[in-house]
């Protein structure tokens, strides 16, 4: 099937819509996460979401969002807002929660295999690497994604200057009267929402790639916060579209194809950055 016909298919259109929106959200938040040394939070939270998903499957919830979203939000809040003063420091607590949730999730799936599913490792693989889930989205999932992404983008625009202030210098922002705790809390909630959204797109393991690559690529070349943010968003959306389309052409897994596209862009941008700085 050629590309033009392929794009006509409703499920491909759904995948493109959700893909563009989710990668836009991950890129926007990625800039602040990378700069605050929280690159791995996406990874950690996605494993939490994976754990919650298996619990939902074991309990037999039809709509696992009801469980997955709140659990991920709580963990994000714990990691981002409490984590900075806690005795277990940022990266260690992320590693702890991430691996813990992954192990418990897998254990639960094996102990209580969800009824009607015999292929556990196939299920796990899909949750971790995305598989084809983005091509099998149900209409209500598409609607939820659109609404949540719109909320995230609006949040980002509305709080853009505050996010910049706390990312660049949280102590200064706090000392001069900005409500840093509130903004950190909101940011944690939004990040959790984005991670849960991105699970369907690239799967649990590859979410970090969507978070870090566009931001890092943009930082190779651009020198202001605004230009880095805008560039990261453009890179991310472009790579996602390219990834989804070439996955269809070459019959490769969608998630990893998108990430490879991001890696290629990173390499190109690094090269350009290296040349222009000389």
């Amino acid at each position: 099937m050629n590309l033009a016909n392929y794009i006509q298919l409703p499920f491909v259109q759904n995948a493109l819509i959700v893909g563009v929106l989710v990668s836009l959200c991950t890129a926007l938040l990625g800039v602040t996460l990378v700069l605050r040394r929280f690159s791995f939070i996406g990874d950690g939270l996605s494993h939490v979401a994976f754990g919650a998903m298996t619990v939902a499957a074991v309990v037999g919830l039809t709509n696992d969002m009801v469980l997955v979203l709140p659990v991920t939000v709580v963990c994000a809040v714990l990691l981002l807002s409490v984590g900075q003063n806690a005795k277990v420091k940022g990266d260690a607590s992320v590693a702890m929660i991430s691996v813990g949730a992954l192990a418990v999730g897998y254990l639960l799936m094996n102990l209580f295999p969800p009824s009607g599913r015999s292929n556990i490792s196939g299920d796990v693989c899909t949750t971790l690497f995305g598989g084809t889930s983005i091509l099998t989205l149900r209409p209500e999932e598409v609607t939820i994604s659109i609404v949540l992404s719109a909320v995230v983008v609006l949040f980002f625009i509305f709080f853009y200057h505050k996010i910049f202030a706390i990312t660049f210098d949280e102590s200064f922002a706090g000392a001069t009267g900005a409500r840093t705790k509130l903004y950190n809390l909101l940011l944690a909630v939004v990040i959790a929402v984005v991670v849960v959204l991105a699970m369907d797109l690239v799967g649990s393991l590859l979410i970090s790639a969507l978070v870090v690559f566009p931001a890092l690529s943009a930082m190779r070349i651009f020198k202001s916060f605004r230009s880095v943010t805008v560039c990261a968003a453009i890179i991310s959306v472009t790579c996602t579209i390219a990834g989804i389309l070439s996955a269809a052409q070459f019959n490769t897994p969608v998630g990893s194809t998108i990430v490879v596209a991001d890696i290629v862009v990173f390499a190109v941008f690094s090269l350009i950055g290296w040349i222009t700085q000389k």
Partner: protein, 250 residues
Amino acid sequence: MALLTCEDLSLGYEGKPILEHVSFRVEAGDYLCIVGENGSGKSTLIKTILGLRRPLHGKIYAGDRPSGTGGGKLPPSKRLKRSEIGYLPQQTVVQRDFPASVLEIVRSGCQGRQGLRPFYSKADKQLAMENIRRMGLEKLVKRCYRDLSGGQQQRVLLARALCATRRLLLLDEPVSGLDPRVTAEMYQLISDLNRKEGVTIIMVSHDLGAALQYATHILHVGAHVWFGTRDDYLQSKVGSSFLKQGGMPE
């Protein structure tokens, strides 16, 4: 009348005090230097004054002591507000490779007054430009922070702090890592703000020479806490022994 009064503060971590019985007053127009050995709790004191940490014990008042012996109380409208404090923190690792333009950083100094307003007003933008000019950064407005020299970076952060306040500026080791010439420029800049523009300064420094050259008051922290004017400090036991340790001429 005092801008800030601290009474019998004890500071520390997890209930263990590292600094005790600190009392001092800062009047409008003062230049207070906080000196003391490394690890004596200077930066912790600054963070406590800023409200980023809670003291273990004691009180910080905006203005004079509210009642009793401390004299008159400022009407609420004249009291120092959180959003009227400017702060020049020590640089963090995060900032060293941060992609941000000078303009973006200086404007973020206005953030404390923003509340939930999403964008900067015209007045905010004008104030930012004014402070950029005051710090002589006009030509660097579009430049990236990480590409600037250490002295330029400090001036950017000072411009940002001035966007937050015209009343009280807290500086935490503002010259660390700067070469002698730039250090002298920085001290001159701070001194001008204090003398010509009436900005009250509280500065943490381990550079005793500069502290004694510019400050009007000294707060010495450590095992013995001492507070008073610069001249009294030079005569005091704490002051003269600290000077000898530091190998400074008396």
